[in-house]
Amino acid sequence: MKGTRLDVASLAANARETWRPSNADRARVRQKLKAPLASSRLSAGPRVMWIAVAAVAVVGTAALLLMSDAKSEAAALQKRADTHASVAAPIAASAAAPHLQPVLSIAHAPPPSRTRRAAPLPPAPVPERSELELLRRADRALRDGDARSARAILQQHEEEFPTSLFADERAALSILAECAANAPDSGGLARRFIAEHPGSWLRQRLRSACEL
């Protein structure tokens, strides 16, 4: 692996390369831009037309609100019941067949794909999104002896960041979790990892935790 000196110029040069978007990144964002650019072109049209459209929308929305007012309470109650059911189902399934879901006991839905970021973020707690933070949490869980949580966090990391720069660290932490859980062949996995990554900073921990 290419070495990087610990001075500003070398770190900056390294960052310029490391943080460059891949061709897939460029193409994906370009593709995502199609819709907003199309609407941007539309917005340059006659303002009168948009004012009329807006007026119709406001009147229509007001009418719909009035019509739906009586139904809203019942709908809200139904939605709350649905939510309880959707949360309870995976928990119940997990309890019934724990061997089928050894890592995640509650289904963790990925965030919906967006073409535009929603403007105001809610004040409620949001799911952790920083990939480094996920790795830190997994590491902390391992150091606390909580292999199950570590595996869950690492699985989440793999789902959210499949092409992470830190895939090697994730793999090493996953093996540490396997060793901590006394999983079969965890020692073999650790030996193979160390052979393939002789410079990994986690090799000592692997040797120690997996008793190599």
Binding site: R5, A9, R16, P36, R116, V126, R129, E133
Partner: protein, 191 residues
């Protein structure tokens, strides 16, 4: 070409670059997407939000390119748009996430071999840059990572040149202090 006519033509997704050659939006995108992507990341946009912020920048570029008057280079102009969009993004982040992004947590044990790996080095720089104040971070990223000239940075950030130099000097001092701590950790690990 008459300025008014040229501006009219520009609204049809084309505008002249500094050499007065008409560029399509696609060309502008290809020329500057690396700057926008990398700059957004370095300025503290979370990995999961990069697509959205880069997209936001180019939507603004697309909307305003017809009015671009060439008082600065296109790169300087796009950099200004990028900085504004990142500021807007960061204002929307929940406080806990801002703290998370800003939390500089150097590893407790630094493996001397690991310190030379590029992923570790990039992560280290990201954490150090995140620990800077917003003002100094912007100048540091644009100067040291993106290689913009100081006059271009001052223009992008709408600050005067002496302020830009002062912020860069402060940022470099702070970065150097962090690096010195890491070097000390490595030296201790090597003993």
């Amino acid at each position: 070409m008459d300025v008014a006519v040229r501006t009219e033509a520009a609204s049809e997704q084309e505008f002249p670059d500094s050499n007065d050659r008409a560029l399509s939006f696609d060309e502008v995108y290809e020329m500057h997407v690396d700057l926008v992507w990398r700059g957004a990341r370095a300025l503290g946009v979370l990995a999961n939000d990069l697509d959205d912020v880069v997209q936001d920048v180019f939507v603004v570029v697309h909307r305003k390119l017809g009015a671009f008057e060439h008082r600065s280079s296109i790169k300087t102009w796009i950099t200004g748009v990028l900085v504004n969009e990142v500021r807007r993004y960061r204002r929307q982040l929940p406080r806990t996430q801002v703290q998370d992004v800003l939390a500089i947590e150097l590893p407790s044990e630094v493996d001397p071999h690991r310190a030379l790996e590029s992923a570790f080095a990039a992560d280290l720089l990201a954490r150090i840059v995140a620990s800077l104040s917003d003002d100094t971070r912007e100048v540091f990223v644009l100067s040291e990572i993106e290689g913009l000239t100081m006059p271009a940075i001052a223009e992008s950030l709408s600050i005067n040149l002496s302020t830009a130099y002062s912020r860069l000097r402060l940022a470099k001092q702070q970065v150097e202090r962090h690096l010195e701590r890491v070097r000390c950790q490595i030296t201790r690990s090597e003993r």
